[in-house]
Point group: C2
Chain length 213, copies 2
DNA sequence: TTCATATAATAAACAACGTTCATAAAAGGA
DNA sequence: TCCTTTTATGAACGTTGTTTATTATATGAA
């Protein structure tokens, strides 16, 4: 009975076609142009057809955003070669920020937009996001185990680092940095990150060897 | 010639009525329900009339969000009584976060939403936001002057603190914290903030010879 | 093959939205 | 009074996302 299998295969193929087209529109024309109707037109089907394969538009967006996580994770992996956990953590921040600022629409989709966010909540699962979070979490744990960070609640510390870089990215992407002249912005971003990491180095690096109470 | 004055007064009155109504809808039914048509219906005018008083919807939203800044600033002022600049900075973070989480829709309007952001950029001026930023900036400067923070670029340091708390608020409001069980979330938020401030205290407090009472 | 049934696709409509424009009404100045 | 400017609007335009009734197609059984 190969027919049901073939049907299932065709169904997956159609879902793939819709997503591939949505992605192409997304990359070529930006998020605003990803509409159900445009996707339909592009694949030469009626808009209603898309609703036979996806519950609503959010489901399409949600599927899209996982592609972004692939790229983010790929970039995260490049820092594995840094041995010092604290330096790696610093690089982690830089890599995260460069991904966000080089792919602002992806970043928006992954971490800011409402649509995918709702899907994430209702599915109570966020596979793509969790892998990246775990990667950061491990980095933070290694810092703690090496005595480079205070051993407080691991998730709280991880969230602290994550929210720091997310805050920087989100304020820039959503244009709330008008108080900084545009030509100084990248210096301020780097300065903000260095400032934070600098506090840690100062607080733990030298102090751990010399004076300890 | 008092007529032009009266006209001007009536014009301001109408603008006020539109904004007041938009605000009421915003607070009563949430952001989604603030539409030009709903506002018009509420004040018993035609939708087209609103465009005689505001250029577009973003201009209405932009006007709305300044109300949010009034409240934020009010809350910021309550920390003035804290003498130790570093403790004040810590309180600053707590106050900021409690504002954000108690008024998520306001916060969204002020710091996340696209609409007002565009208006901010095109006006190259952000009165309401700048006052709050300046307040934080002064706090950071006082920390530096008291030797409690390293004297690096003031704006970079200020931005670092701001983006930290913004990141926390934005990730929660836009529902990207599904990895934390809901009942632990507030503990993690406090933990993340304390973690950061703790790093500073540890790195600078004792080194400066000042201890907590 | 033939026919009923399940599946796939669509055209058209619905209900919103922001926005514009020609037109009508009112107010003001002469 | 007459003319001009201001103020208001109804209706329309061009978008959305989504639903529904209808048609075409493919399938399984007779």
């Amino acid at each position: 009975m190969g027919i049901t299998e073939r049907k299932e295969r065709e169904r997956e193929q159609m879902r793939g076609l819709i997503l591939k087209t949505a992605m192409r529109l997304f990359l070529r024309e930006g998020f605003d142009k990803v509409t159900i109707r445009k996707i339909a037109e592009e694949i030469e089907y009626s808009p209603a057809t898309i609703y036979l394969y996806f519950k609503d538009k959010n489901e399409v967006l949600f599927a899209l955003h996982t592609e972004g996580f692939e790229e983010l994770y790929r970039r995260q992996l490049t820092i594995s070669s840094v041995n010092d956990p604290l330096k790696r953590l610093h690089r982690h921040g830089e890599v995260y920020l460069s991904f966000a600022l080089e792919n602002p629409e992806y970043y928006d989709l992954m971490f800011i937009m409402r649509g995918p966010g709702e899907k994430i909540v209702e599915e109570k699962e966020w596979g793509a996001g969790l892998r990246s979070y775990e990667f950061l979490r491990t980095n933070v744990r290694e810092c703690m185990e090496a005595g480079l960070l205070p051993r407080v609640n691991l998730d709280a510390a991880t969230f602290s680092f994550w929210s720091q870089v997310h805050g920087i990215a989100a304020l820039i992407i959503r244009e709330r940095c008008v108080m900084f002249p545009k030509e100084h912005l990248s210096a301020i971003v780097n300065g903000a990150l260095d400032f934070r990491m600098g506090l840690i180095m100062k607080g733990n690096g030298p102090m751990n060897g010399k004076r300890r109470k």
